[in-house]
């Protein structure tokens, strides 16, 4: 089965500026990708489990989002077998080795530190999208769990 021509990306990011940078970076890749933004881990989980359709190919998640922390969302995603195949990339302000370790232990696919310098940030995000959406073969998107159950 062929997947959609348009790649589905979910961005978990509470900062509008960072979300804007991510969108700009994605645009700069000129990839046929559609990015859906949520601002918390909770919203992300709701999106993944509650909306009919296919799961996203890539989740880009900021670690320090309000409410249910990015860490908890990460744990939930990796605990749920139906979601565990989704590629998750963490972007964070923190370069703390403890945060980095935690995320890889929790099964993220990559961990990026967001620089303050906008150009560096933009370049890093662009390179990240380039890598995950162009250079790497991702698994086929699976249906949303609820859609499967219905």
């Amino acid at each position: 089965m062929l997947h959609d021509a348009v790649t589905h990306v979910v961005l978990v990011e509470d900062s509008d500026e960072d979300a804007d940078t991510a969108e700009e970076a994605l645009r700069r890749t000129l990839l046929p990708a559609r990015m859906q933004r949520v601002i918390s881990g909770e919203a992300c989980l709701a999106l993944l489990t509650g909306v009919p359709g296919l799961l996203p190919s890539l989740i880009v998640m900021d670690l320090g989002t309000p409410g249910l922390d990015g860490r908890d969302a990460l744990r939930e995603i990796r605990r749920d077998q139906r979601l565990s195949g989704v590629t998750v990339v963490v972007t964070s302000t923190s370069a703390n080795p403890r945060d980095v370790d935690f995320c890889y232990q929790a099964g993220v696919n990559a961990y990026h530190v967001k620089p303050v310098n906008h150009l560096e940030h933009l370049d890093a995000m662009t390179a990240m999208f380039e890598y995950w959406l162009r250079r790497v073969e991702l698994p086929m998107p699976q249906p949303c769990p609820r859609a499967v159950g219905q």
Partner: protein, 797 residues
């Protein structure tokens, strides 16, 4: 005497009969006194002689016939000895007084207790004689004294013995210290007897004596406070005073009258004269008194139970001194009263001293509790020295000695402390205290400590830490006035050549007290023990307090680190936004050639600077929180890595980095240690305006090979030395402060100013110290210590 056997040996007749000059016969001072070479062997209780101013008859108990008579009977009693022996005593006393004597003996209260019998009227050339009687060893002793009655009677208004004694007793009862008791007793007895000098002579535990109270004729030199060697009052003489209250000596050096025969004809025993007022003094005693210029004397006992506590000694310097029976009885009574009052007065005095000690100790403890350290004990006032009559005091607390007064040097204290730490006394369950008045006898090095090596009292404040308090007491030889000290007055040799005289005894005595202090009083030892108990409580409660403070501190440090970390993160996100907008505006402005573009460029630069500050803050907070991974680290490798890391950063200028010595292996966190070197190296390279930057890395020699326990703290001191710009003296306090930059933001390559703060934190987390030496304009050397030495190299790790 052939039947003088061991079984009927007498006190003072110390069983060395075989070696004594009078072996096989009864002793007589008159005949054998000069042959005595050792006071302790003189049979002073059976001297065989009486003072010549009186006469003495020994009667058989059964028939009151004369068995022995003093050789001067003819002169005093009007009958030659030969005419008296075997005759009834009525020959001397008359029938009436003999009947009185029988009645007196019948009451049976005169055993070893002289009673006044009568006064024989004067007749012919013989003066009136007071007659007193006592019984001892189954015989009746009748003493005749030409005293009292023969003198013109003092005015009855001033001489009323009973009244005087009542008055004296009333005064003595009011004494509430030993001192007051002694002062009153000497004053009363002097006024009662008219002697020139009356003293209270106290025996210390080691037997030596001290004059603790004195009442004297105004023109006499004071002897108060003088100490006398134990040998000055030999044991046989002391034994007399355990049995008898009084010993009068009418005239020093007056002729003695021997008993005839010397031994009792039936029993063969010499007469026990312990209770005789007329007992003849030993020649030694006579010489001793003559050396001091004494012409008459009186000695009274002060007893505590059956112990002889001391003596009341009266001296007269102006010829013979008559003391009537009544006067002696009054003195004896006073001696008894002093003895009875003594315990109560001493207890009161000790209570006062104890309260005084406790008061000072309590102040000390409060002080220590307040100022939060045991060192307060010696900061004073008051100090440990005030709390105890001692020459010096020392406190060992946290491996540091604090000293006050006369105390041995620190190195000696260290060794003494180590020796004491192994003494079982200090951990005794009942009385954990080490007390000695002769330290050098147990700890020979103390012999070399001039002025403080006599006595020691030590308490331990904790077993594990080795904290202790020591009180030193100087050698008594140096600290008190010794009578007979050759430096004090000319030495007077006795007239009998090499024979031991009391003054020669001083030299013997010096040998016996060398290295000895005055003994510690039991009230002092008790106070030290109470002090220890209170201090221990304080130490324990302080330890608990500290532990809880430490917990709080650790918690708040953690909180602070977590706060710094979170804050940095949360600050970075908006900063990224700010930067982004500024960037966009700057881009637009550049396109329009907008004059704002410069300001926007400045905004971007500031945002980036803030970013790097936040990075430093983050890093610093992480340095404080992350656990160290301690392992043996070869510092040569670490330094090589550090050089590689900083070298890569700076290629714009030639730099020589040298490591001339081989660096040791230390117990450290490899990554953090490298960071320390990287920071110090990059500073050394950065702050340099010479054509060629020179940096030397090394370590000082007290390295890991130094034997542990030699006093130097285990560990290694490293240094990084540069020929850079140096640090101005006014900046020395700023160097290690967070974000403190000593130069303009963009001078010397910029930087956040956190490097040395992080260095310090890293070194401190290893348990080390960091410091620097610098000459402005010539260079700086940064030092740091790493205390951890791998176990394989030293047992101190």
């Amino acid at each position: 005497m052939s039947n003088h056997t061991t079984a009927d040996r007498h006190p003072g007749d110390e069983g060395e009969a075989g070696h004594l000059p009078w072996a096989g016969q009864a002793y007589s001072v008159k005949r054998f006194g000069v042959t005595i070479t050792n006071c302790d062997s003189e049979p002073v209780q059976t001297p065989g002689c009486i003072q010549g101013h009186g006469a003495l008859l020994v009667l058989n108990r059964s028939d009151l016939c004369v068995a022995q008579a003093s050789e001067n009977s003819d002169a005093l009693l009007g009958r030659a000895v030969a005419a008296l022996l075997g005759q009834p005593v009525s020959l001397v006393l008359g029938a009436q007084e003999e009947a009185s004597l029988r009645r007196l003996l019948g009451r049976d209260d005169c055993e070893r207790n002289p009673r006044y019998l009568c006064t024989l009227p004067a007749h012919d050339s013989v003066p009136a004689l007071d007659v007193s009687v006592h019984t001892v060893d189954g015989v009746v002793v009748v003493e005749f004294e030409a005293t009292g009655r023969s003198q013109p009677r003092p005015d009855p208004a001033s001489w009323d013995p009973i009244g005087r004694v009542q008055h004296s007793v009333a005064r003595l009862q009011k004494a509430d210290t030993l001192q007051a008791l002694g002062d009153i007793a000497t004053a009363e007895i002097r006024s009662l007897t008219g002697l020139d000098r009356v003293m209270v002579y106290r025996f210390h535990a080691d037997g030596h004596g001290e004059i603790v109270a004195e009442n004297r004729r105004d023109d006499l030199a004071p002897w108060l406070g003088m100490h006398y060697p134990a040998q000055d009052i030999p044991e046989p003489a002391r034994e007399i005073f355990r049995q008898s209250w009084i010993r009068p000596l009418r005239e020093v050096g007056a002729p003695l009258a021997e008993l005839v025969p010397l031994a009792h004809p039936d029993t063969g025993r010499p007469l026990t004269m312990t209770h005789c007022a007329l007992r003849g003094p030993s020649l030694m005693h006579t010489e001793y008194l003559q050396n001091m210029g004494v012409t008459a004397g009186l000695t009274l006992a002060i007893r505590r139970g059956d112990q002889l506590w001391g003596l009341i000694t009266g001296h007269h310097y102006s010829g013979a001194h008559d003391m009537s029976f009544e006067m002696r009885a009054a003195c004896e009574l006073l001696a008894v009263v002093v003895s009875l009052q003594h315990r109560a007065a001493q207890e009161r005095e000790e209570l006062v001293y104890r309260l005084q000690l406790d008061n000072v100790l309590q102040q000390l403890v409060t002080q220590a509790a307040h100022e939060g350290g045991l060192s307060a004990l010696l900061d004073g006032p008051p100090t440990l020295l005030d709390a105890m009559s001692a020459g010096g005091a020392a406190l060992l607390h946290r491996d540091r000695w604090t000293r006050a007064g006369a105390v041995p040097p620190e190195a000696e204290l260290q060794a003494l402390g180590a020796w004491l730490a192994n003494r079982p006394e200090l951990i005794d369950v009942e009385r954990p205290i080490f007390v000695t008045d002769a330290l050098a006898r147990e700890y020979p090095p103390a012999a070399a400590w001039a002025g403080c090596g006599g006595g020691l009292m030590a308490i331990a404040l904790s077993r594990t830490l080795g904290d202790m308090v020591l009180w030193f007491r100087p050698e008594a030889l140096q600290s008190v006035r010794w009578s007979g000290n050759p430096d004090d007055k000319p030495r007077v040799l006795g007239p009998h050549g090499m024979r031991l005289t009391p003054r020669r005894s001083f030299e013997l005595f010096v040998d016996s007290v060398r290295g000895r202090s005055l003994p510690w009083k039991s009230v002092e030892v008790d106070a030290a023990l109470r002090f220890r108990a209170v201090l221990m409580e304080l130490v324990v409660s302080r330890a608990a307090q500290l532990a809880s403070l430490n917990t709080d501190l650790a918690r708040s440090n953690d909180d602070l680190d977590a706060f710094a970390y979170v804050a940095s993160h949360d600050l970075k996100e908006p900063l990224r936004g700010i930067y982004k907008y500024a960037h966009q505006m700057a881009t637009d402005a550049a396109e329009r050639n907008d004059p704002d573009r410069e300001r926007l460029a400045g905004l971007l630069r500031l945002a980036l600077r803030m970013d790097s500050l936040l990075d430093s803050l983050l890093h610093f907070s992480r340095v404080g929180r992350v656990a160290l991974l301690l392992e043996p680290v070869d510092v040569n490798e670490v330094v090589a890595e550090a050089i590689e890391m900083v070298d890569g950063r700076r290629r714009d200028k030639p730099a020589e980095i040298v490591v001339p010595v081989r660096l040791p292996v230390v117990q450290a966190d490899r990554v953090r240690l490298r960071e320390v070197f990287v920071n110090l190296l990059s500073n050394a390279l950065k702050y340099n305006d010479r054509p060629i930057t020179q940096v030397e890395i090394g370590c000082t020699v007290a390295g890991p090979q130094a034997p542990a326990g030699d006093g130097s703290p285990p560990g290694v001191t490293f240094f990084v030395r540069d020929n850079g710009i140096g640090i101005q003296p006014r900046h020395v306090d700023q160097v290690f402060k967070m974000f403190k930059r000593l130069h303009g933001r963009d001078e010397f390559g910029g930087g956040t100013g956190a490097g040395l703060t992080i260095v310090r934190k890293l070194v401190e987390r290893h348990g080390g110290d960091v410091w620097f030496e610098s000459t402005f304009g010539q260079g700086s050397t940064f030092f740091f210590t790493i205390p951890g030495v791998p176990a394989a190299k030293s047992n101190a790790a």
